[in-house]
Symmetry: C2
Amino acid sequence: MTDLVDPALIDRLAEVAIRTGLNLQEGQDLILTAPVAALPLVRRIAHHAYRAGAGLVTPILADEALSLARYREAGDHSFDRAPGWLYEGMAKAFEGGAARMAIVGDDPMLLSDENPEHVARAGKANSIAYRPALSKIANFEINWTIASYPTPSWAARVFPDLPEDQAVAKLAEAIFAASRVTGDDPVGAWAAHNAALRTRTEWMNGQRFSALHFQSPGTDLTVGLADGHEWHGGASEAQNGVTCNPNIPTEEVFTTPHAARTQGTVRATKPLSHQGSLIDGIEVRFEDGRITEARATRGEAVLQKLLDSDEGARRLGEVALVPHGSPISQSGLLFYNTLYDENAACHIALGQCYSKCFLDGASLSEEQIAAQGGNSSMIHVDWMIGGAETDIDGIKDDGTRVPVFRKGEWAA
Amino acid sequence: MTDLVDPALIDRLAEVAIRTGLNLQEGQDLILTAPVAALPLVRRIAHHAYRAGAGLVTPILADEALSLARYREAGDHSFDRAPGWLYEGMAKAFEGGAARMAIVGDDPMLLSDENPEHVARAGKANSIAYRPALSKIANFEINWTIASYPTPSWAARVFPDLPEDQAVAKLAEAIFAASRVTGDDPVGAWAAHNAALRTRTEWMNGQRFSALHFQSPGTDLTVGLADGHEWHGGASEAQNGVTCNPNIPTEEVFTTPHAARTQGTVRATKPLSHQGSLIDGIEVRFEDGRITEARATRGEAVLQKLLDSDEGARRLGEVALVPHGSPISQSGLLFYNTLYDENAACHIALGQCYSKCFLDGASLSEEQIAAQGGNSSMIHVDWMIGGAETDIDGIKDDGTRVPVFRKGEWAA
Ligand SMILES: [Zn+2]
Ligand SMILES: [Zn+2]
Ligand SMILES: [Zn+2]
Ligand SMILES: [Zn+2]
């Protein structure tokens, strides 16, 4: 294997993933999922994990060809199965104190040519089986992080017109820049980035806005915020007391909208890649928090099906602020991967809200969260509404307006 | 990646592993462990598993560099850890009906340069954690099989003087020949081979020998057989009712000796590779089943330590007959891997016996097995005592002698 990807940068990303992403503790075990194609990164992660005092690093490696073999050869009965024994074991390991890292790098469209009914059933069976482990991550009971690796299959999707080696090199460049590991002191760069995000979240939390008003070409949208909402961004403390960065990269400052208080029209600024389909030219009208009209110039049927998933699918679960100057936005690329694409622009998400985006959220019941305006749904789909023209005002209870974004950047 | 190993033969080995090795049943799940370097075989195994009606194939892939990272970087505390959550999950999957396949291919000397105390402690922690899953395999509760793949690191150990591509090609040739997949109908070839082995086991079982007398240069050894012993070889029925071939390749016909009834001297005919050390020129004297003298021209200290493992380590747990003309023997290679080396020559094993090598063995208690002469120990180490000169007589209760082997081959 030749070094298509710079080993020094792989090593820096591994160190950032362990020290900043996970903040792995002395003696803590680590469960690490990754595609086989990401092994050069996985090996350096194991190195840095043990250097940081890891107990035991257990890799669970996936392979695209193995995944496809099932869709190509298995009988119909296979598509309701899932490795429950493995996920229940993971949940047990998390209860025992293990941390969790995921490396993403699979082709985002891997299953787009397979039988959609089989894909949907297998996905559902897997989601149900994974729930005990996922809930510990979603409730932030443990320190966890997601980082990524420029695999050939993902690179081919982002740069379909380039030969493989050039596509990989370009995707690598974009990943390393977005992950802030191109400088001499990436861990220091992340500390500075986290401090900058903290300044933003503290300012937003101090303002106690009741709504945000987005204005840009095609958009005139007022997003009401949930009662007792809390802004988050960058490093955050898990319930096990470890402060970690769950996403590498991350650029967003985000909170929970009120499910019944969004009004107006919004035009998406980027295509939305959803389960192998592309939805482009989205325009939507909200009335009292609910989408009452939705159009798309491409993939409108997929969009309508998405909105019909359940009642919460037509309401917002997240609003997030990302400056137009963010490195991911500046790359101008569509990564077909939410970890990247949601950090390229201000976005809203249809569906489920995050309980941690409420003051004292960990102690609130589902009923309390709903009463404060938190949305609930099976889905959580982010789509980009920000760009170079985006202006945002914060609106307080008394009607006072405060500039938050001007021309796509933080106003203050 | 270029095709160092012929894809057509990889595919045949995969088909034999699924159809003959495992005899995978419609709807049965499969847990498959393998080194990442064996992925070309693992992918074809998944293909044939789903074609055979597999429910879900769950691969658990290991990587030598990841294993080494621990020995190189981890703190002392790491070496008492093991992924109990994973092994307990596997045991649960076996209880739920899953089959088990292992692909071997790691460098047999991978850990030979690491801290031996860490290697020993990590091995022990792993053995203890693995016990719930291993016991279901050892008790033959499920259909399982082991096959192998010619990885570069293993090939380099077998052919240290060849460049990597030639070493891999030579090891591949040896593995495919030994695994009987070089002909047009490998599944048919295995059916014929299993039938031939069954003829041998039935003949041996019909004779009801009380002892075997081995004679060759340096060897004059009488191995007493356990009361109610049963000979096994080739395909065999697991407790779940599935007939499978637990080892690919396999050449041996084997049973349980009586722990107190072996007399005489024996000289090993091949070096013994044990946990990264080579023991050569072994000569041993047995009195009443127990080794009372042991010498080796190389690695004698390792041999003595092995014999001191526990009381059962000085007594026999297996005696196995392999003709000198077996394909593995004819290759003339030392594979440093018991799956191969034990199928190259008649062998005996120090340590633990197999309960299935007793008539009605599954229903016997440990006490009954011991009373019939079955040995017990933490270890089970096979070493080769057969060669071109080996003569074996079967001895009956009345003293009648029947030729079993002459000049290294079956006499009848
Ligand atoms: Zn977001
Ligand atoms: Zn989101
Ligand atoms: Zn044997
Ligand atoms: Zn053995």
